[in-house]
């Protein structure tokens, strides 16, 4: 977060307007088959990701148990939907609020304990908490629905302005609306005194105590607010999937949001949005094409941590910065060469992995596999040689071009930094 004093400006309205427009138009642009379900899912996960980044990116709190809040929010939301009591008075459109309030209430409860600590201890408590809750969820089937979870029917009560929430598209727009509101709210949070102090606590909790702030309170309040938004996302997922089960409060859920947010880049407000798209792409879309998607996700994540620890957003921003300084002309050629080599290597790797998967998991149905309309016999040497050649070519090429690219890249960046420093210093 490098937000500095900038008066209200047109640019900001443009960004938000564009975002809103994109949300409205998305279903029209992506109208094929499963697009709507995927978009809906991305929307809920985005809220969850942003709320997680409030903790990690803004407040420096590495949590392994954020699903506790979204999950409990989801459970309360679904019970509200199923109840004939007060819950029945809440229209479906406002059910996410029930989730939010529930998430927040548990934020108040659990946060009081967890935020007493920070750093690794905090991380471990949250891990313990989420495992605890997960184990509990099987012990109290009355509330958590046991192994099978709790199901609901989102079409309930009278239709309000023709909205029954039966058709997926209505659900999508509900999610989009909540996504927009939540994003604005969470962005606004980064621009408040508490939001800024959360940054300060992240950077140097010790010093914060000497400028009048109680670090624990800063963390606690941040967590409560973050839990609120997590709860909203939980409520939305309850509406979207019409089922909530123990998985909603699992360490796996918590871990995957950490993964997504990190992929997007924790240092940037919009990072989680990007990370979610990539994450859902892997887990929902890629999984339709290949059983190896988790391997690819793992590889991708590891490479990212290794080569761009600040996430995808940082990569993009760096490129934009170079382009902004009108130096793109100098890097595009080596960049292209390196990317091309990486691509070639990747083709070989993917081919190898796919064949290996086929050979080990699907061999009973014959050794021939079809990918992209090509029938490949995995028991013959040919395809393996091709894959190997691609991989080798990629690696050799990469080693050949990478140093040159590296040199240009660091040159250019050093110049930009120098320019900027020169500008301010």
């Amino acid at each position: 977060m490098r937000l500095t004093y900038t008066p209200l400006n047109l640019g900001r309205y443009l960004v938000w307007g564009g975002f809103a427009l994109l949300l409205v138009l998305a279903p029209l642009i992506f109208s094929k088959g499963a697009a709507l379900s995927i978009l809906s899912q991305i929307g809920t996960v985005m809220i969850f990701g942003l709320s997680y980044n409030m903790l990690l990116g803004q407040g420096g709190m590495l949590s392994f148990g954020h699903a506790v809040y979204s999950g409990l929010g989801a459970f309360f939301a679904i019970h509200a939907m199923n109840s004939s009591g007060i819950g029945a008075l809440v229209p479906t459109s406002l059910i996410p609020l029930v989730g939010g309030v529930a998430g927040m209430a548990f934020g108040v409860l659990f946060g009081y304990v967890t935020t007493k600590k920070s750093g690794t201890t905090f991380a471990m408590i949250t891990l313990g908490l989420v495992e605890l809750l997960f184990a509990c969820s099987l012990m109290f089937p009355g509330f958590f629905g046991g192994e099978g979870g709790i199901t609901t029917n989102r079409v309930r009560g009278q239709a309000f302005m023709g909205l029954t929430y039966g058709p997926q598209v209505q659900v999508y727009y509900l999610i989009a609306a909540w996504l927009f509101v939540s994003t604005v709210a969470m962005f606004a949070f980064t621009q408040t005194p508490l939001g800024r102090m959360a940054n300060a606590v992240r950077d140097n909790p010790e010093r914060v105590e000497f400028i009048g702030y109680d670090t624990q309170w800063v963390r606690y309040l941040t967590l409560i607010l973050s839990a609120f938004f997590a709860g909203i996302s939980g409520g939305l997922s309850a509406i979207n999937f019409e089922i909530v089960s123990a998985e909603n409060v699992s360490a796996i859920r918590s871990g995957s949001i950490l993964l997504f947010v990190f992929i997007g880049g924790i240092g940037f407000f919009f990072g989680p949005l990007l990370g979610t798209i990539v994450g859902v792409f892997f887990s929902v879309m890629l999984s339709d094409f290949t059983p190896a998607w988790q391997l690819y996700l793992g590889l991708f994540f590891i490479l990212l941590v290794r080569y761009a620890p600040a996430g995808l957003s940082s990569l993009i921003l760096l490129l934009l910065r170079v382009a902004g300084a009108r130096k793109f002309g100098r890097i595009w050629k080596p960049l292209l060469a390196v990317s091309a080599c990486a691509l070639v290597g990747m083709v070989g790797l993917v081919m190898g992995i796919e064949m290996l998967y086929h050979l080990t998991l699907d061999a009973a149905n014959g050794s021939v596999m079809t990918r992209f309309g090509q029938a490949i016999d995995t028991r013959t040497v040919g395809p393996w040689l091709v894959a190997g050649a691609f991989l080798l070519a990629g690696i050799v090429g990469y080693r050949r071009f990478q140093p040159g690219y590296d040199a240009v890249w660091s040159d250019v960046n050093a110049e930009i930094v120098a320019q900027q420093r020169g500008g301010v210093a």
């Binding site: 300060a200 950077d203 400028i211």
Partner: protein, 254 residues
């Protein structure tokens, strides 16, 4: 006599079995600049840590403007109007210089844990941050992240954060350590400027700074204040000579 700004009464502190502060007594009047000197390991930084609430005291009492502050947490003490700097710079590395300062003024301006106000809409916070920025002469580095500042700049920002909240008792721990003569002269000027009308307690090894700035010098040796007097008297105090100053002459030649 009015109440003292800061008063230490027989303060003691032990870590484990070793007693580091052994009954320190010190009074700093309002508007006074007091330097604490003493050999390495005498407990000067520890004393600061006790006063600012970083460590609890083992016994004795510390009063700020006549009210006891022993047992309070650092942020509570800060809210009562005492602020301190650190011997090793302690900044918000990933925030810009301007944001560092703005953070430091928020509480004193009453914004507390507000998450319903827009930071950029807070005129007074902005103005106060700008003012401090100007005082420490870092307007041009306003957007630079604190973590990448040069050493001297970090020291200046350290002082800036300390004074930004407008506390009227200020504790500075070796504010000029590691600075060159010219930088340290500038720092002295800065300190003089920003502490007008306030009470200042500082730890310093650089005698020219000490003698240039302090109205009063306290000498801490082995956890006890063995002398507390005007600079002139301290200079001629034999016990101080023996315990601390040593070859005073050679130091000044440097």
């Amino acid at each position: 006599m009015t109440t003292a700004a800061l008063e230490l009464k027989d303060v003691r502190k032990s870590f484990g079995r070793s007693e580091i502060i052994r009954g320190a007594n010190l009074t700093v009047q309002k508007g006074e600049r007091c330097a604490v000197i003493g050999p390495n390991g005498a407990g000067k930084s520890t004393l600061f840590n006790l006063v600012s609430g970083r460590f609890p005291i083992s016994s004795g009492d510390i009063c700020l403007n006549g009210n006891s502050i022993s047992g309070l947490r650092p942020f509570e003490i800060n809210r009562l109007g005492l602020s301190r700097s650190f011997q090793i710079s302690n900044l918000f590395d990933k925030l810009s210089v301007y944001e560092n300062l703005r953070c430091a003024v928020l509480w004193s301006l009453g914004y507390r844990y507000s998450f319903w106000q827009r930071l950029n809409g807070l005129r007074d916070a902005h103005e106060r941050a700008e003012q401090v920025l100007e005082q420490i002469g870092m307007q041009r580095q306003r957007k630079v992240l604190a973590g990448v500042l040069t050493y001297a700049e970090q020291r200046a920002l350290e002082i800036g954060i300390t004074i930004a909240g407008g506390a009227d008792v200020i504790l500075l721990d070796e504010p000029t350590a590691g600075m060159s003569r010219s930088e340290s002269d500038a720092a002295v000027e800065l300190i003089r400027k920003v502490t007008v009308g306030k009470s200042l307690v500082m730890v310093e090894h650089d005698m020219s700074v000490v003698f240039g700035l302090a109205d009063k010098i306290a000498v801490l040796v082995y956890g006890e204040v063995i002398a507390c007097d005007t600079p002139a008297n301290i200079r001629s105090n034999a016990a101080v000579q023996a315990a601390y100053l040593g070859h005073e002459g050679s130091e000044e030649a440097a």
